[in-house]
């Protein structure tokens, strides 16, 4: 593929993370895991929850608050931003209606309108409008949900608004909170979670992998098309597609996943780093490895790539925004974060997954990829400097 890039790069001016397990961003470049042993009520026993207390705002208008929204608010609170007006907002917030406090309250009180008013924070556009008000956003705004590709898709929508000239600044926020008995049961019963009682259970690309470790977290970023501006990094392209195949499994052919990557890459083929989806499920990792060989051929073996989920667990709807922002940080530092716990490589996963320890990388382009339940594919092309 050749030719001019399809999209203008947009600057990522600031970013914030709410990581599980007490992790800070430096920890991801040291190879530290956020996995902890959960209390006795949880099965499986290992997860990566956000450990610090996440408080409800004192003026929150309802007694029940979605934990995912509280995590989103925390990420927004940590974000340094001074956007011009009007500013856009893209929010990714998944599965709030599966949070146990909502379900328990509703199962008990669904015939009592007065008590049901206590759940209004879970309904309709409240989470989006509440966050917009807290951030002072008056411009376009949308709440998206493409499961585990949601975080990546927030950046795609933002880049399109900036490219179209709708606004000059967009805030994106993604959060996920399914680290509870119901959320764990939902994914465990699908056999998607690792059942190991082992703090090293998140082992993407390792032949011993048995599923993902549930994580939770949030991220936020400020994107702008205004110039000149000092940027953390640049979002240079994005690609999205649907597999039209299975809801939870990997597709039989990889064409749609490849199309998303190729749309994001545009004319670029020389990558210095690739942040994989890398869930650690038996199906995902070899499929993803085949995909990169299809796209890059022999060059795939020379691209350092890693799975941040080996450290953070799978933060579901927030994961791909966390991973994109960490990828930008990797480009800034010139360091690829490692894939932890990769000690016995799966022969079907024979690419360079930067096992166990971080590694220096060249300056250049990176790809961040996400594949989601429902067949959503989303890929982002990132760079440390404006490339064109």
């Amino acid at each position: 593929m050749s030719g001019a890039p399809a999209t203008a790069p947009v600057a990522v001016l600031s970013a914030s993370l709410v990581l599980p397990g007490g992790l800070e961003i430096d920890d991801l470049f040291r190879g530290k895991s956020g996995a902890v042993r959960l209390d006795g009520e949880h099965v499986p026993a290992i997860g990566a929850p956000v450990l610090e207390p996440i408080e409800r705002p004192h003026d929150f208008p309802f007694p029940l608050a979605p934990r995912a929204l509280l995590l989103a608010l925390e990420a927004a609170r940590r974000l340094e931003h001074e956007p011009g007006a009007p500013c856009g907002l893209v929010l990714a917030l998944s599965c709030t209606h599966a949070e146990p406090p909502y379900l328990e309250h509703t199962l008990r009180h669904h015939e009592d309108p007065l008590r049901m008013r206590e759940t209004l924070a879970f309904h309709a556009d409240f989470p989006l409008e509440y966050l917009a008000a807290r951030l002072g956003v008056t411009g376009p705004r949308v709440r998206i949900d493409s499961a585990c590709a949601s975080g990546s898709d927030t950046l795609a929508v933002a880049q399109e608004w900036l490219e179209a000239g709708v606004v000059e600044d967009v805030l994106v926020v993604a959060a996920s909170a399914m680290m509870d008995p119901v959320g764990l049961a939902l994914f465990r019963n699908l056999h998607a979670l690792s059942d190991e009682d082992d703090l090293q259970a998140s082992r993407p690309f390792d032949r011993r992998r048995r599923g993902f470790v549930m994580g939770e977290g949030a991220a936020a970023a400020w994107l702008s098309s205004r110039e000149p501006i000092p940027a953390l990094g640049w979002l240079c392209g994005h690609g999205r597609s649907m597999n039209a195949d299975k809801f939870t499994g990997m597709p039989r052919d990889l064409d749609a996943m490849a199309a998303a990557c190729l749309d994001a890459l545009g004319p670029v083929r020389d990558l210095v780093y690739l942040s994989t989806h890398g869930t650690g499920t038996p199906l995902n990792d070899p499929c993803e490895s085949r995909l990169y060989k299809e796209i890059f051929g022999e060059a795939a073996y020379r691209i350092p790539m890693s799975s941040l989920k080996s450290m953070t667990g799978h933060c579901l709807g927030a994961s791909s925004l966390i991973e994109a922002l960490v990828t930008i940080e990797a480009l800034r530092r010139g360091t690829a974060p490692p894939t932890l716990h990769l000690e016995e490589p799966d022969p079907e996963c024979d690419l360079d997954y930067v096992p166990l320890a971080p590694r220096p990388i060249r300056s250049g382009f990176a790809l961040s990829a996400a594949w989601a339940f429902g067949g959503h594919n989303s890929a982002l092309l990132l760079a440390p400097e404006r490339p064109w």
């Binding site: 099965v43 179209a164 597999n243």
Partner: protein, 266 residues
């Protein structure tokens, strides 16, 4: 001055709806609408996703390779899916729940709990493999996403699908004025470069406290008593087509904000 947001105009090639619920007469008589009985959850398909598949299937213009934008409201109640686990444990969570009793949550429940199920089901059932933007509880954002759709429309048809089903708990939490009518279902709009039915674009939203001129918006009066979460932009186009309007302005109202849609017909 024409802003980038209001400059984005999409041409409608086709519009179809599958609706259920208490039918207001003005809507029941609209062409392009098929009325059906309200649907219950299937094992892995929510009512909203089921309506959406039928609405898109009814489109007569080609939709292959389309970019998909979904605007999903409540997909249908999830409560029934969690009741067995709660009955077995006495509480949905708590001592003992996580070990064996959580097995009462069926594996497919996660499919119905995920809000991207409308987009996913459309893709799987109708072989849609193009780019997808799956939104939830954001019907007012249809107007905000017109520029995104216009970008996608440079390369391919754009399919916008609005879908929702009554969520009992959602309705119970709302203050419902007397005479309110609840409609659920799906509306599918196909935008193409050569679409001939009419055009939609963004219009300036009303200022706070601004009185709306009802003569400029024939849709306002019937809409006032209609609850159709996440369906409003699609119903606006249906209404404009059904009434043969040449020019109209529709307000897309959600609890938190209002955006405005402009309809024009050549």
């Amino acid at each position: 001055m024409v802003s980038a947001a209001t400059a984005a105009v999409l041409r409608v090639a086709d519009c179809r709806a599958v609706l259920a619920g208490t039918v207001p007469a003005w809507l029941a008589e609209m062409p392009r609408v098929r009325w059906v009985e309200p649907r219950a959850e299937q094992r892995s398909v929510s009512p909203a996703a089921s309506y959406a598949v039928d609405a898109v299937t009814a489109l007569e213009a080609p939709r292959a390779n389309a970019a998909l934008f979904t605007f999903a409201g409540p997909p249908g109640s999830c409560l029934r899916l969690f009741q067995p686990a709660r009955d077995a444990a006495g509480a949905l969570v708590g001592p003992g729940f996580g070990v064996e009793r959580s097995r009462h949550i069926h594996p497919f429940t996660v499919l119905l709990a995920l809000q991207n199920q409308v987009a996913a089901t459309l893709s799987m059932r109708l072989d849609l493999r193009g780019p997808c933007c799956s939104t939830t509880d954001s019907a007012a954002a249809f107007v905000d996403l017109l520029p995104n759709m216009a970008l996608a429309a440079r390369a391919r048809p754009v399919l916008a699908v609005f879908a929702s089903a009554a969520r009992a708990e959602h309705l119970a939490a709302r203050a419902r004025p007397a005479g309110e009518t609840l409609v659920e279902g799906a509306v599918a709009l196909l935008f193409t470069a050569g679409g001939e039915l009419g055009s939609v674009g963004a219009d300036a939203p009303p200022e706070a406290g601004e009185a709306t001129d009802p003569t400029a918006n024939g849709y306002l009066k019937p809409y006032a008593s209609l609850v159709a979460p996440s369906l409003e932009p699609g119903l606006a186009v249906l209404y404009a087509l059904g009434r043969g309007l040449d020019l109209a302005r529709f307000e897309i109202r959600e609890p938190g904000r209002t955006t405005a849609l402009r309809w024009s017909r050549p």
